[in-house]
Symmetry: C2
Subunit: 423 residues, 2 copies
């Protein structure tokens, strides 16, 4: 009798490694917005943002293969690749965000960003929201620890309540911006009082893991004013909303009208090649290197830069940012037309949107949401859920997602909601 794939996985990777779905999928091939499993079943990928310009895009694959066959070294030698990429990347930012530190993962980027805040201010206090995720290093995992780490929670971290669309802070959408800023202001005061001082506020400008609440441009203005007044920095974690996903802008902070001091980018940056980066003002970059020193062996290697550059090529050539805007708007309109008693709200921007499910008109319904996720998978659609209560569908497909793909997604969801798989 042969060992099952799951048993083999538990034996070799450890007994408690997470998977998606009650019956995990065994994916063997990808192309564009499609994935195939080992049985030849085809899935529409409505979840994966890492293959940003589509699974296995030939332009990116070719760039990787060509550069891997030419040279792959490190940044202690000079190379044009990283400079050409940094030039093109920084041109997409405003506000003096014109230097880049290339690393391999979003976790590494945020680990640097937090230390940049410390180096630039001389303080150590960090503020994040209470339902976020910024990565998995010892430092940044403190921002999303679900239970006390060995040695206890970091004393210099404060988590503030996340904004929400259905249950807004302060009880109304109108009050929410000021209430959120007030929480940040109190956290700053606590950090100062405790002797840590205040270094930075880190947030995803789309509040993706918080359930991507509908927030108007300017929502963060009162919060940023609090941060500035306290002498701290704002870090925008663009790992999820960045690279045009939201359709209207290249970056999430541009959409909400906020000027960060530091930006971190990752997942979609090189279509799955392990590449991430920190973009910051030169003075902050310099202060970080002076305080901490830093070298990353793989960071900014010629292959990583070629892969990242190829992603920008495809984004432009295939007009994927405007596609995200148009297809996202179309999908959102169709979703909003669905009628079902469990639908609490439909929201999102560009190709990052979803449905929040509730019961009895307002209570979060994570069980129902989970059953929808499983039923969609059974019907050949891969997506998942997020939010504080895990009751929001997380729909975040590769950027070449088309109207036809959106129709298939929405038609399948309509059928699932009207069917007997969910209850």
């Amino acid at each position: 009798m042969t060992e099952s794939l799951l048993d083999r996985r538990a034996r070799l990777l450890g007994p408690n490694m997470s998977t998606f779905y009650a019956d995990p999928v065994h994916i063997v091939r990808g192309q564009g917005v499609w994935l195939w499993d080992a049985q030849g079943r085809k899935y529409l990928d409505c979840y994966n943002n890492v293959p940003h310009v589509g699974h296995c895009h030939p332009h990116v694959v070719e760039a990787i293969a060509r550069q891997a066959g030419t040279l792959n070294t490190h940044t202690r030698y000079l190379h044009d690749g990283i400079l050409d990429y940094a030039e093109r990347l920084t041109a997409t930012f405003q506000g003096g965000l014109d230097t880049v530190i290339m690393v391999c993962t979003g976790s590494e980027a945020n680990d640097i960003a937090l230390r940049m805040g410390q180096a630039a201010t001389g303080k150590t206090g960090v503020i994040a929201t209470d339902n976020t995720y910024h990565g998995n290093t010892a430092l940044v995992s403190q921002l999303s620890a679900k239970k006390p780490p060995i040695g206890g929670y970091a004393p210099n971290v404060r988590l503030v309540p996340s904004p929400d669309s259905l249950r807004p802070l302060g009880g109304s959408m109108g009050a929410q911006a000021q209430v959120f800023a007030g929480h940040v202001e109190r956290a700053v005061a606590e950090l100062v009082e405790a002797g840590h001082g205040f270094a930075s506020l880190i947030l995803c400008p789309f509040f993706a893991n918080e359930g991507f609440p509908d927030l108007a441009p300017g929502f963060l203005d009162p919060t940023v004013a609090v941060v500035r007044k306290a002498g701290g920095l704002v870090i925008a974690d663009e790992v999820q909303p960045g690279f045009g996903r939201l359709g209207s802008h290249m970056w999430g902070h541009q959409r909400i009208g906020m000027a960060p001091d530091i930006v971190t980018i990752g997942k979609p940056m090189a279509n799955g090649h392990p590449v991430a980066a920190v973009v910051a003002r030169a003075d902050i970059n310099q202060a970080f290197r002076e305080a901490f020193g830093y070298f990353n062996t793989f960071g900014g290697n010629p292959v990583s830069c070629a892969a990242a550059m190829a992603v920008l090529d495809v984004l432009e050539e295939e007009k994927l940012v405007s596609n995200a805007a148009e297809t996202g708007e179309y999908a959102l309109e169709r979703l909003k037309a669905l009628k079902h008693p469990k639908i609490g709200q439909v929201r999102g921007a560009g190709l990052f949107f979803g449905v929040e499910f509730v019961r009895d008109g307002s209570e979060p319904d994570p069980e129902f949401t989970a059953s929808v996720v499983e039923a969609m998978k059974a019907h050949g659609i891969l997506l998942n859920r997020l939010g504080r209560h895990y009751n929001c569908l997380k729909i975040r497909p590769p950027m070449p997602f088309s109207r036809e793909n959106a129709d298939r997604l929405v038609d399948t969801l309509a059928s699932v909601l009207n069917g007997s798989d969910v209850a």
Copy 2:
């Protein structure tokens, strides 16, 4: 007037980013043990361990290209690639080191390893040597901080004096093993006394950054006994000595006859593709995931696993571990035959060896060493220096390094030492 490459680099990557050499090299192409600069100059690469099986090895490049064109997703779906690799990798270890967590950088691997030690023991104290480097995350950079980080040194870290060949701890090579263990024992007591308790000792079993002192098998036995008695774990950082570099064994800890609880691997693992891993007993792996949770988006993706697997293929097919043993021994013999008043000692193992330069018979001579490094570069040989005093040549070439390459290296060094470039 065009902007120089160095000016452009300072503008885009920050003003204080490190480079190698007084006049940094602009490398554009690599193959096997050779690198070429933008002017077409050819260099023998005696430094880079990342391109382990040779720059741009076609088998690795092809594996990357093939898998990148087929599928690149994450470990929340099932895939054979990571399991096949983990099976083959763990077969090279003894002592129940049979589970793997795949990540992207050695820094991420050590960041996990330290937390594994904490999860398995419930304590937080960490011991390392005082001239080491284990990576660049906020946590692991505490082990090699040259100046106090913002917020101060971590209170739960103790650094013990490194072993040395020319200036052994306790004054003699015979006493050194016990004296080193004594330092570790005192550090354990301090950590317990301070309330942190003792979780782990992390070290490179070749003491690479410490200057790779000549240490007999069994050197670490008294130290490991101290760690075991105190209920702590031993972490072997194999990022530099691993994957057969030392010639006699696949792993540095096997060569020195030490059984670690956790092993971290990185740089050479996938020939430059950003891949690293933590190998640990299943109970430690499980304790870590229970205490901290962990998911790494890029870690263990199918392309990373294909690249890492291809490196193992080439290591075997081209018999590169035995080549490291034979060529390394040959090079070391030839180096030992060199006569020069500044040569304090010639030492190393496999394809990781060097020359320690001194003045007045015993004083470290970093300036002379630096001039040798620059002169070797001028003569087409890339190498560098390390050790507490930066007075040891660091010679660590790709594994296909041949006798002919070794001859060129030693002949050039002889000529440089006898010439007028160094003094």
